[in-house]
Every structure is written in structure tokens, then in C-alpha cells.
């Protein structure tokens, strides 16, 4: 018997690393990895060396020291004796506020314009095309500055509202003042506030008012419960419709359920509107929407809205024409066809690019620098860095914040996307 010997195994040669396809990809990856690590190592080393050369250390303790500067728009309590960390938080909330408002209005504008751009009415569709092309093709910064300049240059000064025969007057029954420092709208207060805030009477003889978190939680809690109740009513109507073929009329129930509980809670808390009025240099009481917020909000909404309009249009066009023809053949009205047949299918195409528009809007809000809106870039990334000289730490924190916010937005939108996308089974 001859014993079978293993086939001759060639010795491993170095050249195989390049010429042998079994090893080549591995070689390339190892080399790329080494280059990448070298580049990172150089960057870090460079930073450390340069910080050393400048005699600086890497330290985040500045966040706990006294800020010393004031911020005009505060969503939480803040004054100049609080810390840089608190100032950064005020800025973060301002960024979130303008991003949130912007995303909502941009979506509304985008959906309307996107649908109208497909209108058969020539004038409407052309007008929408002009809007989309106009806003999409001009830098956002210009729009922000333009709106800001229009607000501060052409609106009346608070002083113009004064005197026997003022050259400017408040609108909507003396409740809203549009000035070159922003728009003052009535403030909502509660005369029976539960939050323990001291109630203050704005003018002598007026009802004392206060606003607190607890009051708002109660009001919105009532609203949330009403919404759940309305959904229940609708579901029941659908069940009845499926059983009998006739949908019971429930709209008055729905309205009553939505309005009455909120109304009762508000009355119980003593909801009052206090209008702004002139005192000293400015309007007081009322809520002050500053020029910077308005300019940033409008410009971000209109600019991003133009992109969203195109996304919506492409989404609608992606739905096959047969779908709407089938809907019409079934006798559905055009509005129902849009809401029940086309938009739900279009959403699958619309949502993914919509996510990146929301991210763009959020990051573009850092253009607040142009109009002095006190967002996180202006507080943490601007004044704090300047007063403490912690550029590296501040910019890292700022980058981290925007990264975290973007990831949060895209993960939330991905959850929504997963609920809408085509279910493949």
C-alpha cells in the first residue's frame, strides 16, 4: 500500500502579500489602517504639542466658573452670576427652540408648496416654482440678514407708539406690537397658578398673573387626554362603519372632547392674556419675539421649505399614475385621493430625504451668528470661548452637541420611517 502523501505545499513568500488575491485585500487593509492611525496620531500629537507650546492645558472646569455675561433670550432662569455651563444650556435651549419651530414651519410650507407646484392651475404652479427656485438658489445667510434688516430698519420704533397722535399703533385690539426690536405678543398667565410662583399684577388694578411649569403640564395633560379620547371615538366610528356600512357623525363629539376639558382646566387656573404695553424704553409684559429669532426662524423655514417642497413633489410624482386613476375610478374625490392614496405612498419616498433636511436646518441654525441670536454657538462657542480662552474644549463640546442632536433627530425620524415604509413580508 502506498501511503498517500499530502500534496506539496509551497512555502509562504512575501510577494504573495501583493500578488496573491487571497492575501492582497488583507494587505491593503492593514496598510490603510496604519496610515489612518498615523494620521490620527499626528493630529493628536500636534494638538498636544501645540497646546504645550502655548502653555495651555486641556481642562473643562471653566464650565463651572462664573459666566459674567447676560443673554437676552432665556427659556430657563439665568443671570450673569451663573456658570458658563448654565449659559451653554440657555444657548442649547435657544438652538433647540429655533430648530423645532423651523422644522415644523418648513414642513408645513414644504408640503403645501410641493402639492401646489403640481397644481393644474398655471399661475399657482408657476408662483410656487418661483418661490422654490428663488429660495433654493440664494444663500441662506442672505435671507437671514435681509429679513433681519427689514425688521430693524423699516418697522416703527417703540417710541413711535407714544404720545397723543402716535405714528404707529398696535394691532389686533391693542394686543400685538410690531416694532423694530421684534414683535410683542400677549403673554399667557394664570391668576390661580399652582406652581407657587408669586403672582404679579402687570399694571395697577389688573389681575395678578404668574406662569409656571405645573400649570402648563396640567393644560397640556388635559389636551393629551382629549386627543386619546378623540382617537377612541374615531376607532369606534370605524368599527360601526365596518359593521353597518354607515359612519356615524361624530365631529361635534370630537370638537367637544378636544375643547371642553382644556377650557375647564384653563378656567380653573384663571387663564388670562396680558397685552404688552409701553413702559420706559420698551414694551413690557407680553412675550417678546426678538428680531433675531424671527429673522432666523422665517429664513430657515422658507429656505428649508423650498427643499422640502421639491422632496414632496418628487415623492408625489413617484407614485404611479395608475394609483390615482384607480382612485378616481372608484369615485374618490381629488382631495381624498391625495390624502388616502397618494400621500401615504409618497411618504415612503419623502421621509428619508426629509430627515437630512431637518438635520440641515438644525445645523444651519448656527448661522444665528449673523443676527446675534443667542444660540449655543453664540454662548458656549462664542462668548464663553472668548472670555475663557478655551477654544479647543469649547469647539469640541459644540461639535459633540450638534453631533448628538443630529443623531437624536435622525434616530427619531428613522423610527417614524420604519413605521411608514413598505412592509416586506
Amino acid at each position: 500500500m502506498t501511503s498517500l502523501t499530502d500534496p506539496h505545499k509551497p512555502a509562504f513568500r512575501l510577494s504573495q502579500l501583493i500578488y496573491d488575491t487571497r492575501y492582497r485585500s488583507m494587505t491593503i487593509q492593514v496598510v490603510a489602517m496604519i496610515l489612518l492611525l498615523t494620521a490620527f496620531g499626528w493630529l493628536i500629537n500636534n494638538t498636544v504639542e501645540n497646546l504645550g507650546a502655548l502653555g495651555k492645558d486641556f481642562d473643562f472646569s471653566f464650565l463651572g466658573s462664573r459666566a459674567g455675561y447676560d443673554i437676552n433670550q432665556m427659556l430657563i432662569e439665568y443671570d450673569n452670576s451663573m456658570t458658563h455651563g448654565r449659559a451653554a444650556l440657555v444657548g442649547i435651549l435657544n438652538t433647540l427652540l429655533v430648530a423645532f419651530l423651523g422644522c415644523i414651519t418648513a414642513t408645513i410650507i414644504g408640503v403645501f408648496v410641493g402639492v401646489l407646484r403640481l397644481s393644474k392651475n398655471w399661475i399657482v404652479s408657476r408662483l410656487m416654482a418661483v418661490y422654490v427656485e428663488g429660495f433654493r438658489n440664494v444663500p441662506l445667510l442672505l435671507w437671514i440678514i435681509l429679513i433681519y434688516a427689514v425688521m430693524s430698519e423699516s418697522m416703527p420704533r417703540p417710541n413711535d407708539f407714544r404720545g397723543e397722535d402716535p405714528s404707529a399703533s398696535m394691532i389686533l385690539g391693542d394686543s400685538v406690537a410690531i416694532t423694530n426690536r421684534g414683535i410683542y405678543i400677549p403673554r399667557i398667565g394664570f391668576s390661580n397658578s399652582l406652581s407657587g410662583n408669586e403672582a404679579v399684577a402687570p399694571i395697577e388694578g389688573a389681575t395678578p398673573l404668574a406662569t409656571g411649569a405645573i400649570d402648563w403640564i396640567l393644560v397640556f395633560g388635559a389636551l393629551a387626554l382629549s386627543v386619546i379620547a378623540v382617537r377612541y371615538v374615531r376607532k369606534k366610528a370605524t368599527i360601526t362603519q365596518e359593521a353597518t356600512g354607515v359612519r356615524p357623525t361624530t365631529w361635534y363629539w370630537q370638537i367637544a372632547i378636544l375643547v371642553i376639558p382644556v377650557l375647564i382646566v384653563s378656567l380653573f387656573l384663571g387663564l388670562t392674556f396680558s397685552s404688552p404695553y409701553l413702559k420706559g424704553f420698551n414694551f413690557t409684559e407680553g412675550t417678546h419675539l426678538r428680531n433675531s429669532l424671527i429673522a432666523l426662524w422665517i429664513a430657515l423655514s422658507l429656505y428649508t421649505g423650498a427643499f422640502i417642497a421639491e422632496i414632496v413633489r418628487s415623492g408625489i410624482l413617484s407614485v404611479s399614475k395608475g394609483q390615482s386613476e384607480a382612485a378616481f375610478a372608484l369615485g374618490l374625490r381629488p382631495s381624498w385621493t391625495m390624502n388616502l392614496v397618494i400621500l401615504p405612498q409618497a411618504l415612503r419616498v419623502i421621509i428619508p430625504p426629509l430627515i437630512s433636511q431637518f438635520l440641515n436646518l438644525t445645523k444651519n441654525s448656527s448661522l444665528a451668528i449673523a443676527v446675534g441670536y443667542m444660540d449655543v454657538r453664540a454662548t458656549l462657542g462664542g462668548i464663553t470661548i472668548n472670555q475663557t480662552g478655551r477654544e479647543l474644549e469649547g469647539m469640541l463640546l459644540l461639535g459633540l452637541f450638534y453631533l448628538a442632536l443630529s443623531l437624536l433627530i435622525s434616530s427619531l425620524m428613522n423610527v417614524y420611517n420604519n413605521s411608514k415604509k413598505l412592509k416586506e413580508r
Binding site: N46, N50, L54, Y69, D70, N72, F281, G372, T388
Partner: protein, 339 residues
Amino acid sequence: MKKTVFFGAVTVAGLAAGLASAATLDDVKARGTLNCGVTTGLAGFAAPNAEGVWEGFDVDLCRAVAAAVLGDPMAVNFVPTTGQTRFTALASGEIDMLSRVTTWTYSRDTDLSFEFAGVNYYDGQGFMVPRALGVSSAKELDGATVCIQTGTTTELNLADFFRNNNISYEPVPVETNAEGQQQYLAGACDVYTTDASGLAATRGTFENPADHVVLPEIISKEPLGPVVRHGDNEWGDIVRWTLNALVAAEELGVTSENVAELAAAPTDNPEINRLLGTESELGAMMGLDADWAVRAISAAGNYGEMFETNIGESTPIGLARGLNAQWTEGGLQYSPPFR
């Protein structure tokens, strides 16, 4: 693989060698121009004229340093910086010196690792309001809207002032003086606050300067001066002593007109001789030639001449010497002796 390791080692060694940077003086000489950080535009201190040439009190200091180091007062590359970008520009090496109405404070000197090379203007923060408002004191400004350049010491002084007087205000942050001026004139803010010299300079450019008043309160000390990076003492010395030479020249009566004559031959005054390099070699001690001060003074005149031509009482800005007079005339401008 061995080759990769070898190349890696070579790369690392090469990068490490590149890190050891040369001194600022050598950089400036090799480049042939001085990178000088100035404001984005503040009439009288630093602003481009109709031909686009930078002019002003701070600009002249840059020119004097360029003349001393490079021999050419025009060999300056002006980098406009805002209140927020100036320190980053200096720390990163984008500019060699900052001559931008910058207040000398403890934390900027120590924590921010900069070096103030003297004071070229003793200033204080003031308030400007339209005359029509009828305000006569800053303490009457409760509830006012105040335009303020963000990232400056004035921002902190303002917060402290209103806090100490227990009155409220609404800050409107602006990025540059031009933006502040536009907001103030549009009435988007009632008050504009910055250094009193800056207020005078800004008011000087208004159509009707008389319609605006600068309130009497000066709420802070603002010693403004040129800044260099910490750690390059030789370069810091050059900037510091160029400024001192300009101040000393005024004290000694050396002007841009007579400097050439005085430098031609030794005079009877040994201090002038030392300053102008006709006696002993002071210039060589900081790596320059003997004529450095002559060139610096010829560039834009001595301290007094610079003051008068740019911001003095004969200009639209119309600032009095006040604290900035020579120490011999009751001011604070005082140069250590040249010896």
C-alpha cells in the same frame, strides 16, 4: 512589512521635526511682511481709506513695528478681526501681533497666554444715547435696549454695572462696530456702549453727531494695547520697545520731521543718541539694526503725532489727550528709559 515600518518611522520623525517652529521675528523677516490684526473698521483707530489703504492709530503702530523690523512701513498685511476672532487669530499664528483696541486684563495676560506689550490708549467704557431720549445719566437706563459688541470686556462691564445699580437691560449682541452703529441708528437699540474712544470715533462718522450724547459715566478701566503671543519674549520686546520708542520720542521732542536730521550725527542729548542709534548699539540687543527707532518714528511720527493725526482734537473724532498725555504733562504715557 519592514519597509512599511521604516516609512512609518521616517514619517513620524519628519512630522516631529516640523513641529519645532521658528521664532516670530525670523518668520516675519523671511515672509517680508508683518501680519497685523486690526479691527474690521473703527474710524480713527483702524479703517481703510477711500483708496483702500488702512489708516488709524492702531494701524500706525503696526506700521512702526514693520518699519523697525523690515524697514518698510507699508510691508504690513492687515488682518481684520472681530471681538470674537482676534484671540484665536493670534494664538493660531495667523497674525504676528494684534493691534486692535484690546483691553489688558489679568486673565487675558495669564490664562489666555498672551502678552500685552504696553498701553497705547488709556480708555474707559461709556454709553452713547440719542439726545432726544433726554437721558443724562447711565443710571436712568433701566429697561433700555443696549447694543454691545459680543466677546469683549465691555460685555462683562455692562453686566456688572447694571447688576450693581440693580437696574435691568436688554442686550442686543452685535459682531462688529459697523453693525452696532447700524442697529443704533435704526433705533433697534436705545444705547450703544463700547470704549469711550470708540464711541467718539463712531459718533464722528454720524451725519449729525450733535444729536447724540456720550453719558458722563465711565464704568471701567480699559487700557488698550498691542498683544503678542506668550512665550516669544524677543518678539514681545520688539513690539513693546517700538511703542516705548514712539512715546519716548514725543517726550524728547523727536518728530517725523526732525528725526532724520537728529539721527544724522550725535546730538548733545545722550538719551536721543541712544534712542536713534547714534551712540551705543541698543538695536542689536533685540536683534535689530541701529536705525530701528529712526525708521519706526519716520513711519507715522512719534506717539503725539500719531494721536493728533488720527484721533486728536483737529480730527472729526476729536479726542482730547486726557490720560494719554505725556507723564510730564499730567498724563499716563510714560516710557521706561532707553539705556
